[in-house]
Symmetry: C2
Subunit: 132 residues, 2 copies
């Protein structure tokens, strides 16, 4: 609810908008552990982060095939961005998403890897139970 629509309403944009469509990200020092944990405590968002980590670099929003509507998907990506977990940037019509791995590793060394490993282990366990 910040830059894109605010401009149309004639409101003054405080942050210097380099591009016409840039998104607010928290600075590295402003990332809060509680917010990161809250962001990752949702199954849908944890799934997004796992796919981002698995695929490596940047993925568009449309890459993900989540069992929710596009509105909800947008919401989840915003939560991840505002908590500092991912970085979002427009590339044409697509919106590319990338893990803020360097920032997180600098703030909380080992945390992201431990979280991803934990998620992998839980997924493997659930898979085994499903197989019987």
């Amino acid at each position: 609810m910040n830059s894109p629509k605010a401009r149309r309403k004639g409101a003054a944009v405080t942050t210097p908008a380099v591009s016409s469509r840039d998104l607010p990200h928290p600075e590295t020092a402003q990332i809060r552990l509680e917010s990161v944990l809250h962001a990752l405590s949702d199954p849908m968002r944890l799934r997004i982060v796992r796919e981002l980590a698995a695929d490596g670099d940047e993925l568009s929003c449309s890459y993900f095939d989540l069992p929710v509507t596009k509105s909800t998907t947008t919401h989840h990506f915003r939560v991840l961005r505002e908590s500092g977990v991912i970085r979002q940037v427009y590339r044409g019509t697509a919106k590319m998403n990338g893990l803020r791995r360097d920032d997180l590793d600098g703030l909380f060394p080992g945390l992201l890897d431990a979280l991803l490993d934990a998620a992998d282990r839980q997924a493997a366990q659930v898979r085994d139970l499903g197989d019987g």
Copy 2:
């Protein structure tokens, strides 16, 4: 809302109550990563877990001096217990709380240490900012 009051209402207790006051804990295999993260995403609960980890073993609920009422404290301890982060047991009138470190380390190796380290780093950073 399970064992303590249910007995008075004459309902059948499914779980074999060894003591008159025992508390429902999730089994180790039932602990879900999302629930753990959600439990730790609350500042009050993260603080409780940090104190438990710092002090080592078991601490009573009254040991903690939290800026909330006792009702709310009870609520937070229950969330931590039901998510599998802590184990609670009555000892006389006191209720002792202990981290389920072995269970969590077995499920998610390195996760708890990474989380505690991250919380320590953030606390140190906030402290530095406060000192100016």
